[in-house]
Amino acid sequence: MLGMTGEGALTELRRGVLGPCVLALLELRPRFGLELVRDMAEADGLLTSEGTVYPLLNRLRDAGLVTSEWRDEAGQRARRYYSITDAGRRSLTAFRAEWAQFSETVGGVLEHRSGAVGPGRKERS
């Protein structure tokens, strides 16, 4: 239904929200790479490519929103665990507020609930 524009937009949409979603998962507890990827994959349709999580994690870390450390737990190979920082929690809180408002606005347009498509812009059939 959406055609190429819609599909491309959905891909961009997924990419755009991955960062806050990663922060939201790390808010619950630290995770290692594959664990994080699998948790993201459980959210159907959110992750189109598992590998994209890693560049994203690095960007989040560069921004001070995520830290990583190696953990060598008994009986398991050493793994790099990612944790959210205080700055990450603050950014996530800010994004949640903005996203709620943004999605409400777009939802209003899609459902014709708001004045975004007013009488002057009414569709002619």
Binding site: V37, S49, Y54, R80, A94
Partner: protein, 281 residues
């Protein structure tokens, strides 16, 4: 790496392709990503994984070229043009476009959001100085617990402060709005921040700071350096021989539509020493 799926020919080929694709990235970033992807495969695949299982895991991971593109520095966001596109396309008479266009706007907004959220925070620059000449004249530098510290006597009831340079490493203009709500200066909670309007990309001596005009909010354009002044009225009560200082600044900073708190780590602590004289709290 013996006895792991990393020895599988498909994985080896993939990692070779990864090396080639990551050649466009900074070496440190390429090494790190290769390590992450390798660890991912090592975790995801059993040592005896078959061709089909390996191929499926590699497909889920994404092509090396796509990963390299994802890891490359992000382009300048198109957010500035998105709203225009959004408005124009709403006038189209074809209902089939509307859903796609709205989703495109959502996507641009979301992309904008994450770009803003992940923008690298303001960093400390190279130059700094006590703001007032009487403090500069009495400043004592010392090393304590592995940290450098500069200390001046507290001048109770009077204004004291320092100036530093800060650098905006991101591709976004960052606007300093003031100190974070919970930030307290060495001399008390009444902290005033000011940002000078000039790009200071040159080596500076302390005297260069004073003629500059400081204001708030203070914008720092992408990849530029500004002088940032921190002043406070010293009301803290300090006993003789005691000291109080700060080694980081918490700032409220606006990037696009997002306001966040950024912590600038200072390369030395800025401290006041007692005793306080006159009224203090």
């Amino acid at each position: 790496m013996s006895g792991t799926a990393l020895e599988h020919p498909l994985v080896r080929d993939y990692l070779h392709e990864l090396d080639a694709a990551f050649a466009v990235l900074p070496p440190g970033r390429a090494r790190e990503l290769t390590e992450q992807i390798t660890a991912h495969l090592d975790d995801a695949l059993p040592a005896d994984a078959g061709d089909q299982e390996v191929a499926a895991a590699l497909q889920r991971l994404g092509s090396p070229a796509d990963l390299a593109a994802e890891a490359a520095p992000p382009p300048v966001p198109a957010a500035a043009v998105a709203p225009v596109s959004h408005r124009r396309r709403f006038r189209l008479r074809r209902p089939g476009w509307r859903g796609g266009v709205v989703i495109a706007a959502v996507a641009v907004g979301a992309g904008y959001g994450i770009a803003v959220v992940t923008a690298a925070p303001i960093q400390l620059g190279d130059a700094s100085a006590w703001w007032y000449a009487q403090d500069s004249a009495r400043a004592v530098s010392a090393q304590a617990d592995g940290r450098q510290q500069t200390t001046v006597p507290i001048r109770s009831g009077q204004q004291q402060g320092f100036v530093i340079t800060v650098y905006n490493p991101s591709d976004w203009t960052q606007t300093v709005l003031g100190p974070a709500a919970d930030f307290t200066g060495p001399g008390g909670p009444d902290v005033q921040i000011g940002v000078a309007g000039w790009n200071l990309s040159i080596e500076l001596g302390g005297g260069v700071f004073r003629p500059l005009s400081y204001s708030l909010p203070g914008s720092i354009p992408p990849h530029q350096t500004r002088a940032l002044r921190v002043l406070w009225t010293s009301t803290t009560c300090l006993e003789k021989g005691s000291e109080q200082g700060i080694d980081q600044l918490s700032l409220r900073v606006r990037i696009g539509w997002l306001t966040r708190t950024e912590v600038v780590q200072l390369d030395q602590a800025w401290a006041l020493s007692g005793p306080s004289r006159g009224r203090c709290t």
